[in-house]
Symmetry: none
């Protein structure tokens, strides 16, 4: 017997990610993945039940990685500093792993997610500490008292869009440094002295 190969599993997910990133989710096909990963098409089924199972695994895996990277926060520390740190975490991780963010965005909240049977709970697994962090900031009256989701729309999303715009060449980081993004987000979310 040959032992199942974690490296191969990783290669499959990476290949799929690659295809999604360069050709879009609609262009994903198992034969492309197999060719890209350097394996036979049938082999995919040793690692995943079917195509959906694989997309599901990919989505959750990337989400998990991102969660690990951007939730390393001092939950009970100073919210202001924490917020600053949070944006840095996203930015730093995005410098190296923008593809993961883009992939998650590509899946979006589109109908595909439903067909993959990913529950709300699964989608948010790993982000619990982030929610706690926000609650701490709110209770200390440093963050505006709004929904967690809304805070992400002003803190997480703009960073991702910023990084993508830079990568696409639509934005020049020398003219618009990340500090400005942080400032805008901070102004939006942090209550006092937000100037």
């Amino acid at each position: 017997m040959r032992a199942q190969d974690d490296e191969k599993r990783k290669r499959i997910l990476d290949s799929t990610s690659n295809i999604i990133m360069t050709q879009g989710i609609a262009a994903v096909s198992l034969s492309k993945i197999a060719k890209n990963a350097g394996i036979a098409s049938g082999t995919l089924y040793t690692y995943f039940k079917d195509k959906n199972d694989m997309l599901r695994a990919l989505y959750l895996n990337r989400k998990e990685r991102i969660a690990e990277a951007i939730t390393q926060l001092d939950i009970n520390g100073d919210p202001r500093q924490g917020f600053n740190h949070f944006m840095d975490l996203i930015y730093d991780y995005g410098q190296e792993h923008l593809d993961e963010f883009v992939l998650i965005r590509e899946f979006g909240q589109s109908p595909i997610l439903k067909s993959l049977n990913i529950s709300q709970a699964e989608a948010y697994a790993g982000f619990e500490s982030l929610e706690e962090f926000v609650q701490n900031g709110v209770s200390k009256q440093v963050f505006f008292d709004i929904d967690f989701q809304v805070i992400l729309d002003y803190a997480y999303t703009p960073v991702i869009e910023y990084l993508i715009s830079i990568q696409n060449g639509n934005l020049d980081p020398n003219k618009i440094p990340f500090e400005q993004i942080k400032m805008l987000s901070t102004r939006a979310i942090i209550m006092e002295e937000s100037k």
Copy 2:
């Protein structure tokens, strides 16, 4: 290849939009569209050169509609009021036509757009006045001096995400009224006395 019946052309686009919205972009097929639109599959080729041409037309059409709806701004008026009005326009149009916003988001800035041969220029057609409006605000030192794209990330995107969250049932508009979104966006973008 000349369109004869504009109503039929519209039906085709609407059907496609429908399918994208309910099943995702990967599930779009001409036979589904034809059935949904109540026409024969071959007839599609009277109205569009091929599948990509149709997706392209759909994307540009929705983008145009949105542009018309949200760029009705007094470009040279008071930027503060204008900003307020701009967000209202998005919100109001989104109440009735969220599907169009979602469709545009579904296409994203993803590789699909490239395969449809949609140039940056085409994608932004119709938004020129919006850019002028922003420049006016910046020159009057009411808006922060940042990129047009970044402003959209703090003014347009959060409204759309807000509306989608409400539609998905993830947000309760009674607890988080639109006024709060406007406030956050305003705080981020408007320079002084941004209360």
Copy 3:
């Protein structure tokens, strides 16, 4: 538009029958059928919903043909003569169309039939007059009072097996003429003076 072509539909069924007859039911594949029928594989789906639908149509079509051929009986006439005539009908039709009988036998009462969703009722459609004929013979005390199915086992089945054996070269019709089969069946089923 090109009108759907009954001749083509017939060719598909004939090709399938051919394959079943020469290679067995397990060897039926749509690509073989298409090649055999001289059409593209996709075209099959213009005529049948899927593979099962086609097998179903084939089964019922052959059953119907057989029913037409062997149920042309004088239901209320002399049962003895009728029985004789019935066996002749099977024999005569089998001379020209043994493949249809063999096909039906190949489907058998095997699990395949269940997967084709053929109800008992459908399977026996067309044979109602045969049942009436048997009832007439029973009520006139010419046939033994046994089940319709059992009568077939002694009248229909042996003829088919006889014809197949001849075709296979396992039986020499000169040594065992059909008259002998008729005699044996008659002896089994007809009550009096059956010697």
Copy 4:
């Protein structure tokens, strides 16, 4: 390729039989068999050269079992009693092992047998004594002077069909007892005083 574990070999054949009986011969796959038998798919090749070799072994094994069960006849004894006993043997064995009969019928004389390279000789191995028994009956002018195969069509086949009909619920053994089947077969085959 040498069998080591006869119990395992038996399990493989039983599993295959099971699948044929419940899903039909077209649904047989080695992976199903392996799972059903509780072994790894590769292990099948220790016991059988390939799939056909296994089907072949299954067919011959079941045929052999049946032959053993239904050929325990006093070849030179009274043919009338022998005929009666013969039908009882089929009936009795069929009560417990109908699946074996059904399996043989499923293979039929269909093209599958040819693809399994089963010769006429192999198929009839074990039935030699039965043929002798028939010849004895014929030479004593108790049985009609017809072919061995034809006799089976009137003595063996109807019993099997009878048992299957009962199992399928198409026949009620209380209304049609086995005695009636025996009577019909006897009437057909035994020459004098066959009532």
